[in-house]
């Protein structure tokens, strides 16, 4: 009796195994084994920051491409790319590390609220309605669409300023927040040595007086910084100063002359002496 049970069950098992093996052989799809290898070294974040649908898509692209020049994984950075290059026996392209920067410094103190938003706290919904709770229609809503979009927990709303802040070592420059911001306030910026960077943290294109009235930290397009810059890295357009990250040598001469403190220097050591009387506030982010 037991024997019959063992034989019949065992028989079913063996037949099943044979069938499965045959099926797996017959319907096998050939895939370059290097794709799996490359995928193994990728961060598996599937963020899409590389421009491909997920890490497997990127791995396939790496294997197929002749050179890795235009391929880069923003999350893994140079480290991962050199590993990929090792697997494939190709040269890794050189990539400048980037980081997301927020071009708005309209803190709660600097930018008084002139109306009260009572809709869904979602930037996209609010922006379809109007310019925001303050008189600046270019600035940040603070409803955190970028925080929701970030897969790396790298951007957060500071509860005091109600502005998003980027955590340097977590940001992978995947660009998710850049795409989602309805006011296009977040841009990818050269990370710079020791993550040091200088940028104009304002997007208000109104005339100086109007912008200043809406926000104490607004760039008023006064061009003082432009005159101060020894490297001609600053241009003024649409009532806004723009610092070219390629030309900028991080000399820090522009920030102190800004009358509205709209130029941000990130990750620099604190200034030793008071440079001018204009820079009463300490403008260091960290």
């Amino acid at each position: 009796m037991i024997l019959i049970a063992i034989i019949s069950l065992g028989g079913i098992g063996v037949t099943g195994a044979v069938l499965l093996y045959a099926a797996s052989k017959k319907f096998e799809v050939y895939e370059d084994p290097r794709i799996a290898q490359v995928q193994n070294v990728l961060p598996a974040a599937n963020c899409g920051g590389c421009g491909y649908p997920g890490c497997s898509g990127f791995a396939a692209a790496c294997v197929q491409a002749d050179s890795l020049d235009n391929l880069s994984c923003p999350v893994g950075g140079a480290d991962v790319m050199s590993k990929v290059a090792g697997i494939l026996g190709k040269e890794a392209g050189t990539v400048n590390p980037l980081i997301a920067v927020v071009h708005c410094n309209g803190t709660c103190q600097a930018r008084p609220h002139t109306n009260q938003y009572d809709g869904t706290r979602n930037c996209a919904i609010a922006s379809s309605l109007y310019g925001g709770e303050t008189d600046c229609s270019y600035g940040c809503f603070g409803y955190a669409d970028c925080v929701t979009a970030c897969l790396f927990d790298a951007i957060h709303i500071n509860p005091e300023t109600m502005l998003p802040e980027v955590t340097d070592d977590k940001c992978t420059a995947c660009g998710a927040c850049v795409k989602v911001c309805p006011k296009s306030l977040i841009k990818l910026h050269k990370k710079g040595p020791k993550s040091r960077r200088i940028f104009v943290s304002c997007a208000n294109q109104d005339k100086g007086g109007v912008a200043r009235k809406a926000c104490n930290h607004a760039c008023i397009g006064c061009s003082k910084c432009q005159k101060e810059c020894p490297f001609e890295a600053i241009a003024i357009a649409n009532n806004l100063a723009y610092i070219d990250p390629v030309k900028c040598r991080l000399c820090r001469k522009c920030a102190p002359v800004c009358p509205t403190n709209s130029i941000i220097e990130a990750n620099f050591p604190p200034r030793k002496e008071k440079v001018t009387e204009d820079s009463k506030e300490n403008k260091e982010i960290k």
């Binding site: 609220h113 109306n115 009260q116 009572d118």
Partner: protein, 319 residues
């Protein structure tokens, strides 16, 4: 500006409807049935109803407060409603501890394990009832005999329900008057057809539910049992007895129309209702259980997502 203007997307006015209002209007609609059950089952009905409501509300409160760690929403009335409906599905001589287990199953398994109000797949009260029916078949199928202003609880005289009589092939059934007024054995809510229909009218007037589901359920049962009765009048009783007996009206009006577990489009509601009616009839006529409304509703609950997916509301300008 003196005070800040409020900005929000349109529409800027709201009709004033709320979850609470809907839940409480169902509770009001259940009131006549409740009074009838108190009249016929007396003390037992009172104990079962009170225990069921308190334990459902307590279970929901405790789960929300300590397991889900969020603000309890017991004030919306949905737990009270589940409690009442669960009680209506129980015999009036059920011991307190079984009712508490039923409430745990209804709220804990049937509702909160899915995420709470609006997310459950199965009607919580029915999930609780079926849980008890399978776990405690003896206690769940001994029905006290109705007795005006009864002071009995677990010690009352017991008898059979109309449907179990039919199931056993007995032809000596209660009169239509008894069935209409609720003078028959059964669970608390399987009582008076008149009281249940009164509640239905109230719900329709308050626009809490639409007519589609109840009418589809009742129509399908009437049609199906009518056909069977036409074929073989001796084996199959006439459709009126089916409509007035057991939990059909209670199920059709109050359980099948549960917002969360019923389809959203009107055609979907009709399909869903007809499905319940047909399944109920099949279980009643051919199954071993005398009553099948709760199983039928639970089975169709499972089909609701499928119905929603395939039967869309009639689209403007569409075919």
């Amino acid at each position: 500006m003196e005070n800040k203007l409020v900005i929000s997307p349109s529409p800027h006015i709201h009709g004033g409807d709320s979850i609470q209002k809907n839940m409480y209007s169902v509770l009001i609609a259940l009131l006549p049935t409740s009074l009838i059950s108190l009249y016929y089952f007396g003390l037992g009905a009172l104990i079962v109803t009170v225990v069921s409501i308190t334990s459902c509300v307590t279970v929901e409160y405790l789960i929300q407060k300590f397991l889900m760690k969020k603000e309890p929403t017991i004030r919306d009335g949905s737990a009270i409603l589940t409690g009442v409906l669960l009680a209506f599905n129980l015999p009036s001589n059920l011991p307190v501890w079984i009712i508490i287990i039923g409430a745990l199953a209804a709220i804990g398994i049937g509702k909160m394990s899915f995420g709470g109000l609006g997310k459950n797949i199965f009607n919580p009260a029915l999930a609780g009832r079926v849980f008890l029916l399978i776990s405690f078949p003896a206690q769940m199928t001994t029905w006290p005999v109705p007795e005006p202003a009864s002071m009995h609880y677990t010690d009352g005289q017991t008898g059979a329900t109309v449907l179990s009589l039919i199931n056993e092939g007995v032809h000596d059934l209660p009169s239509y008057t008894d069935m209409l007024t609720g003078n028959m054995g059964g669970s608390l809510g399987e009582a008076s057809a008149i009281a249940l229909l009164l509640g239905f009218v109230y719900l329709l007037v308050r626009k809490t539910i639409t007519w589609h589901i109840p009418v589809a359920v009742i129509g399908a049962v009437a049609l199906f049992t009518g056909i069977m009765h036409g074929i073989d009048p001796y084996s199959y009783v006439n459709p009126f007895i089916h409509l007035l007996s057991g939990g059909l009206l209670l199920g059709a009006i109050f359980m099948a129309t549960d917002y969360t577990t019923s389809p959203m489009s009107k055609t979907g509601m009709l399909v869903y209702g007809a499905g319940i009616g047909i399944l109920t009839t099949i279980i009643r006529l051919f199954g071993s259980y005398p009553e099948g409304v709760s199983f039928a509703i639970l089975i169709m609950n499972a089909f609701t997502p499928l119905i929603n997916n395939y039967i869309k509301p009639k689209h403007f300008g569409g075919k």
